[in-house]
Point group: C2
Chain length 376, copies 2
């Protein structure tokens, strides 16, 4: 691994594992959930509050930050950690996914992607070399290879062509990244839902050699069943001694299923985005705080939750401030959701360490199902 980095697995249960990623900016307990700080902020949260929920690492988005405020600007201001007041590890994506989903007027070539900004229409290029440069300017601790991620469903031929381009870009990313003490580079496996393509992609990446490996190209519309099918074999193609990162996942039951299948890291906007739209995640399923049934309810979102939102506020209050369009609604629901996701990760880590993941997962599923029946 990169100098200054380490990954130790301290416990296993079936294919699941728990351990720690050591970085110069702090330790990341795995399995880890990374809150997303797209534009240099986890929306509606102060960074110390994100940390208080139990987050060891944040994800930042290269695509958004290169467009506004600009990577060179952030570098002049001392890097992303200082800029956003978060001193622990940051993983940045490569921009490859967002450029295909958010930008306009895209043109994809062997060189990279030219595109128009979704903010002001200005023209930009993203390539493996430029993505590595931007992530270096940001000061990212864990840098992701520049890749292309096709939406599913797609034909095997289209998935194969895209995957092989991503593998050539992975080599160029590796070459451009070089050797930067204290900064790690992760490769991204592609190949859609095709086992042979996944294996080919894994081989290409491990031949290049990375500090960690992402399972990319999932959570893009294929559904949980197809995703789990891929996760039944794909992590096994990757080196045992490196972290495995499932990008863009997910709902709590996606997370649990991924961890069961050997995933060490995940990220998703879900807890923060849901918070802003009035959705709370709890041990007993989702609570839609918009619903009028909450308007006189003195109970917290979840009586077993220890977050500040559940300690201080009733569902009636949360319903009121959501309906009134008050900012505190986003603040409190996001905090609760991030707390819930981090508590789930901690529970998973402990269950794996104690060899009782199966029991934990069975109870998790039973509680979620009970919540769905009660229609909280």
């Amino acid at each position: 691994m990169a100098q200054g980095f380490g990954f130790t697995v301290s416990g296993r249960d079936g294919r699941a594992r728990t351990g720690e990623i050591h970085t110069p900016r702090g330790t990341i307990r795995t399995p880890a959930f990374m809150p997303v700080g797209t534009a240099a902020t986890v929306k509606a949260m102060l960074p110390e509050s994100v940390r208080a929920t139990g987050a060891d690492i944040l994800l930042g988005n290269t695509y958004h930050l290169m467009l506004r405020p600009g990577a060179e600007r952030i570098a002049r201001l001392g890097g992303l950690h200082r800029f956003m007041n978060w001193q622990r590890p940051i993983l940045t994506d490569s921009g490859g996914f967002q450029v295909m989903s958010l930008s306009g007027l895209r043109r994809l070539t062997e060189e990279g992607v030219t595109f128009a900004s979704h903010i002001d229409g200005s023209k930009h290029l993203l390539s493996p070399e430029r993505s590595m440069e931007i992530q270096r300017l940001l000061g990212s601790d864990i840098v992701m290879c520049f890749d292309e991620c096709p939406a599913l469903p797609a034909t095997d031929a289209a998935v194969a062509k895209s995957m092989r381009l991503s593998m050539r870009w992975a080599q160029r990313s590796r070459d451009a990244f070089g050797d930067r003490r204290g900064h790690a580079l992760f490769g991204i496996m592609q190949g859609g839902t095709n086992r042979e393509l996944r294996e080919e992609s894994a081989r290409a990446l491990t031949d290049i050699g990375f500090d960690g490996y992402a399972v990319g190209g999932l959570a893009v519309g294929e559904g949980q069943e197809a995703m789990f099918s891929v996760l039944d074999y794909a992590p096994g193609f990757l080196p045992e001694d490196r972290p495995r990162y499932l990008m863009g996942v997910g709902k709590p039951d996606d997370i649990v299923g991924a961890v069961e299948r050997g995933i060490d890291m995940m990220d998703c906007v879900l807890p923060s985005r849901s918070g802003r739209t009035g959705q709370a995640w709890t041990r007993r399923g989702q609570v839609n705080i918009k619903n009028a049934r909450h308007q006189d309810d003195p109970r917290p979102l979840d009586e077993s939750c220890t977050c500040p939102t559940c300690a201080g506020y009733s569902r009636a209050y949360l319903h009121h401030v959501f309906r009134a369009g008050e900012i505190i609604s986003s603040m409190l629901l996001t905090w609760h959701n991030l707390h819930y996701f981090q508590e789930l990760m901690q529970d998973l880590r402990v269950a794996i360490a104690e060899g009782r993941l199966g029991d934990f997962v069975a109870r998790f599923r039973a509680e979620q199902a009970e919540g769905d029946i009660q229609a909280l």
Copy 2:
């Protein structure tokens, strides 16, 4: 004063005074600035953060809370303090000002005001008796009389007619309030910019007898000079041994001028509203964070400020998150502004106690003027 309440003046400098209002829910250091929590939240702030800025008391708006979520609902949920998770004192206005400025289809009679909600058009009545009932349901610590507040400029005849109606309503408010241990009732002086009417109003109120007295009907468009002219004499018409509250004020230099003239309490939405529109208040005047000149500026809003915003974030960051429409922009700017306002109050209290208010005010004005010249 009401049982459980007390007001002690511990220091004087000219007409200015410093002291403490004692309430069952905590002590209010005076001169006090009350942040406004209109709809049961100081916008973009958690209540513990509001407290961390130095606030001893919040203001809640009867008009907003009666319409949404409703006073009876808040009472069933345990009162406003519990509802919004703020255990220190709360002052509620009477609804009289907002009903005249925000609602639709108003009809003013001797009985009170019927109006249509600005939220859903539903019809409501506010009267002295109903206002006292609502403020009792909310559990307000300091209750304001129901009054009418005419916009200025207005003819003396119109101001006199309105003031005398407010004085009849003050008596009805007093009668309806009764005697509630641990809860204080404040009268509101009216009379516009007319000295004789102010004196008549003060006499009517002191004849009824209240726990404190507000100077109402200012900061409604008359300008600072006219406001200070009234404050040159009006506080002197009120009892020395009761707190004097100037409603809806104001900018930092309004606050300083009011304190010089013997005011003990103020409230204003300015620090929180400005925070949401990208305006920061500092010792050296206002900073408009929207301005492109800040986009590369690594300095905090105010290098002499000790708030978390200035400790952790550059102007460049604040400019970025404001431009990106991120919620953290409102959170950080509001926190800074509330901190600045509370620090100003603390500086005023100490300056009065130490008999050097004149020096403090001279320096305050010089620093503000210097800031205006530098166009921060």
